[in-house]
Amino acid sequence: MRSAAELPGGGPVLMALRRAAVGYGKKALLREVELEVRAGDFLALVGPNGGGKTTVLRALLGALPLLGGAREQAGPVRVGYVPQRDHVDAVWPFTAGEVAAMGRTPGLGPLRRPGPADRAAVERALQRVGMAELHGRPYAELSGGQRQRTLIARALAAEPELLAVDEPTNGMDPAAELSTMEVLRELHGGGGLAVVMVSHRLDAVVSHARTLGFVDRERALFRVGPAEEMLRPGALAALYGREVEVREEAGRRVVLPVARGGGA
């Protein structure tokens, strides 16, 4: 495992966990977690469902108190957060535009109403994810992919330096998954935006992430490093418990388990 100082990402460190113990109540799910996010990085935390990825993300953002170790942050960092789509209750009668506008709420603070600058930021965010024309449509009537883009727009409305995205492609068909990942890649490629993404599927992120973190509390596994290093057979075997290889097909990386005693 590489030390925090050696991790790639380019820019200055925005947030970091140092020898952190993360969990709920008094029970630590993972210990000795070393993780840092730099400006411009694209970090994907990958592991099985229930493996502790979201817990690490929440701890990184400061939304979950640490059970040990320390959390560091380089001054105030504007964060955009995209929750798992099915954690958002579509029974609320909001339009896509109203959902996106909520991204401005934490920055505005109590007693202040959104002004023209806030509305312009929301409009820009909706345009960046291709949802401007659907801003008046009820959130409940949007497709899964459109809801995901609306939630990304809400995060972008805060004009974040760090975009945290939790399982954005969960339950999507391949076309919607690709479309969502392209949106994230474009957002990341457009400037110094750091992206931290949680996914239980390495396939979904392997073509996009610069830095990979493998998380599985059952195996007491927390390992993070540059994507090229983490995609080597030894690192992949630590995550999957068996031989796995990554192939390049039509410009995209595909993760394939290697059959016992034979090829993939």
Partner: protein, 279 residues
Amino acid sequence: MSGLAGFLAARELWQAPLLASALAGAMLGFLGVYVVLRRIVFVSAALTQISTLGLVVGLFAEERLHVEAEHAHHQLGMAMGFAVAGALLLGAWRPRRLPAEAGVGAAWVVTSALVVLGIARLVHVSHDLGGMVFGNAVAVPPEELWIMGVVALACAAIHAAFGKELRFVSFDPETARALGMRVWLWDALFSLSIGLAIPAAARVLGALPVFALLTLPAAAALLWKLRLGPALGVAAGFGLLAAVGGYLASWFAETPTGATMVAAAALLVLPGAALRGRG
């Protein structure tokens, strides 16, 4: 016409109850949108019972410990204290091994039983307590009308000032928390608003209409596929209509006031349900 003439002639009798019912109906209709969308309908039922238990405890304290609790504002203070505490506890209780509904159900059934036991012990005030539980908007003294007005104003002020925060944390608490918002604080503020509203309204209308007005006008408004802002306004209007319409209908038909308000609120759901039924 003689019925109407008699009604108009008895203005002093119905003026305060009707105004208090209108205020309570509008306030509960508005808050009910949050209650329905936050999926805490049965929390409101439990809070109504908890506030009634507060009243029972106050009356017990008066009888057994000779603590001053004779005036309406003392009793209402106890009911509000219990309701606010109950709202905060039920809102904060996140059991790991049980669904949250189990706690709400337990709170409802235990407090209901304690209220019944209290009524059995407090024979001399059982009539008043019966009015609290089953509804009795016939006589509302000016003091209670004032209290109702102040509580409605306080709820309106809370939601006017902090509406965007309450909407965000209600809709998506996970994201609000991740972005550094103190969700527990906003939830507590919401709990405070319903913890104040329920006892004040229960004092005027009774427990059954309070539960109905926290549920049915909001459901009726939401069935019309309105956005949240208009839905809040329409639900407040429906709540007012159900309370006032129910009161007037009960006057002329000589039916129990609380139950007639519930029936009026239920009628308001039908058009929206028919509209949704047609797709």
